[in-house]
Symmetry: C2
Subunit: 344 residues, 2 copies
């Protein structure tokens, strides 16, 4: 039986259009049953533009409130008890859905998911993972990218185990190479946290390749990169900044003379390919790892394709029992970490 995924229909910047379109695509291509959670009237209006969708296993679950990008996480938790975020996650807790997808406020989604679903045994802090393309055409996983700051070595150890399992199960890499994000390759390099974490990671039963540097993130020589959430978030957002800079500089350069414009027109399909290669929407968003349940967070600017892929990944996450594997993987560690500070 195909799985059921709850989708926050009010999350993205242009909600509910990308959500409804993405749900239809996921339902049509993968046979996934999708529960569209949010304001019924708005979702119905959008659905009515797709008459053939009536035959697909798509249902609406009403939620009267919407968490906006401006809402603070704590505030959203306290005051918006009937938000699409909270109602959707409750569907997972009550086993009415196998997983939840949202393109909404990341901070609020993390806080709500932790409260509604709770952490798996052995997990001190759930981590947010990002999946992105490398130069070799493979994908790599970086975690944590912002759920936890001021991490302890034990937190990073748990991130390594969870990231490795995700990489194996979803990206299909047989023996993922796990690296620790630091500022120099030798094990004595880095800061106090990375030096202590190095000692824990090298004892884990996984393919630990040692310290890696920022420039290795996209090189394809490592599949899972472990970092404190502050550092991972800076790396991720810096990358976005560089891509924006490069796009801007290239556009400026290409439109300055007629010859260059003709050149651009002739090579335009190359730029489509190029963008596709850098496109993160293929990888189905950022999973929150370590929860009793499945929660995938996608970018606020997600298009239908990104939503479709996130729904697919949520379904695979549930079907492949990744959480059971994580629980077993962590059970072997026999350690309890002093908790890191939750990013607010």
């Amino acid at each position: 039986m195909p799985s059921t995924i709850a989708l926050d229909a009010m999350g993205s910047d242009r909600a509910p259009k990308p959500e409804v379109d993405g749900a239809i695509q996921a339902s049509r291509h993968y046979g996934i049953r999708v529960l569209l959670v949010g304001r019924e009237a708005a979702i119905k209006a959008e659905l009515s533009r797709h008459p053939t969708a009536a035959w697909l296993p798509i249902e609406i679950v009403n939620a009267s409130e919407v968490v906006t990008m401006e809402d603070k996480a704590a505030q959203a938790l306290r005051s918006k008890r009937d938000s699409s975020l909270r109602v959707g996650l409750r569907l997972v807790r009550e086993k009415r859905a196998a997983g939840f997808v949202t393109a909404g406020n990341t901070g609020a989604a993390m806080a709500t998911a932790k409260m509604v679903l709770g952490a798996l045994p052995g997990v001190d802090r759930p981590a947010l993972a990002a999946v992105f393309p490398t130069a070799l055409g493979t994908a790599a996983v970086l975690l944590d990218v912002g759920a936890n700051v001021d991490c302890k070595p034990e937190n990073l150890e748990q991130f390594a185990v969870m990231g490795e399992i995700y990489c194996r199960s979803i990206l299909g890499i047989k023996r993922p190479r796990v690296g620790l994000l630091s500022i120099g390759e030798e094990e004595t390099k880095g800061n106090e946290l990375t030096r202590e974490s190095f000692q824990l990671l090298k004892q884990l039963p996984l393919n630990f390749v040692g310290n890696v540097e920022g420039r290795d993130l996209y090189g394809g020589r490592v599949d899972v990169i472990v970092a404190d959430g502050f550092v991972g978030n800076v790396a991720l957002k810096t990358s976005e900044g560089v891509v924006n800079l490069v796009r801007f500089a290239l556009k400026e350069a290409l439109r300055s003379t007629i010859t260059r414009q003709v050149g651009y027109l002739l090579s335009r399909s190359a730029f489509v390919d190029f963008k596709k290669r850098l496109d993160h929407t293929e990888y189905g968003g950022a999973p929150l790892l370590g929860l009793k349940g499945v929660c995938i967070i996608t970018h606020g600017s997600s298009n239908a394709n990104a939503i479709k892929n996130a729904i697919r990944v949520a379904s695979e996450f549930a079907e492949r029992s990744i959480n059971d594997t994580i629980e077993k993987g962590l059970a072997g560690l026999h350690r309890s970490a002093a908790p890191a500070t939750v990013s607010t």
Copy 2:
């Protein structure tokens, strides 16, 4: 009288060629007197290929040893007492040169500079600053990018003062906007270090714009970005990784069909412009701020242009008495920081 700059002639990956070429250009264009420090025979051989250089104010100072990229910083300090690095920095300490430039081993250069020159009064830890282009065509300064890890708030406060002065004096920005690299804009966002540093930075007599995120580094909305050296180094190297990924993906896309190749040929000058726009060699390398003396570190892959610009910047750094300004700026703080850990 034009200033005298000591240049490590043995530092870069292709030394001494880029160094000799860069010295000739700096000497010719700016009238700077350059002391080429390193193995006399090798430098002479390279100089002999430029007969007209004999009329320029370029001299050789012999140093029998070379610190390689593989040498550990501590080892280089202990064992290579006649290295071009050490001899060059000694010329600065003895006031025979106004500043020093090297494209060699960054870790060894930082350690040697700190030992030979010493820190300015009020500076607990000298910081390495990186200068890079933004989308608006301006330049921005990020510090620290790897000299100090596990920083205290007082270290970041000193970095802010030093970076702001550098930005004003060398980049000519009248009232630089200073930001704190964090993971969210509100002052409560970030980790323990950034939250405490925020409180110190907002009391400084400079244009503090609050927290900035990784994606703001290249946006041109901030001129000086303050960070712990671990975080700054990750941001810088991640950026390098992204640029490499983008170049690779673009090249692959452009060479796949004949039409695209023709398009590329027509727009080739656009790519030259594009590369120039992203080119960091224009900005003259990374200054070590907070030393009793001037020391500029450039990339190991530096070409003659990068060396020329670094020599120019070293000369401006000395002429504009930046160190006096830093000393005065820090004297107002009346604080003494517990030292950060030096990155090894």
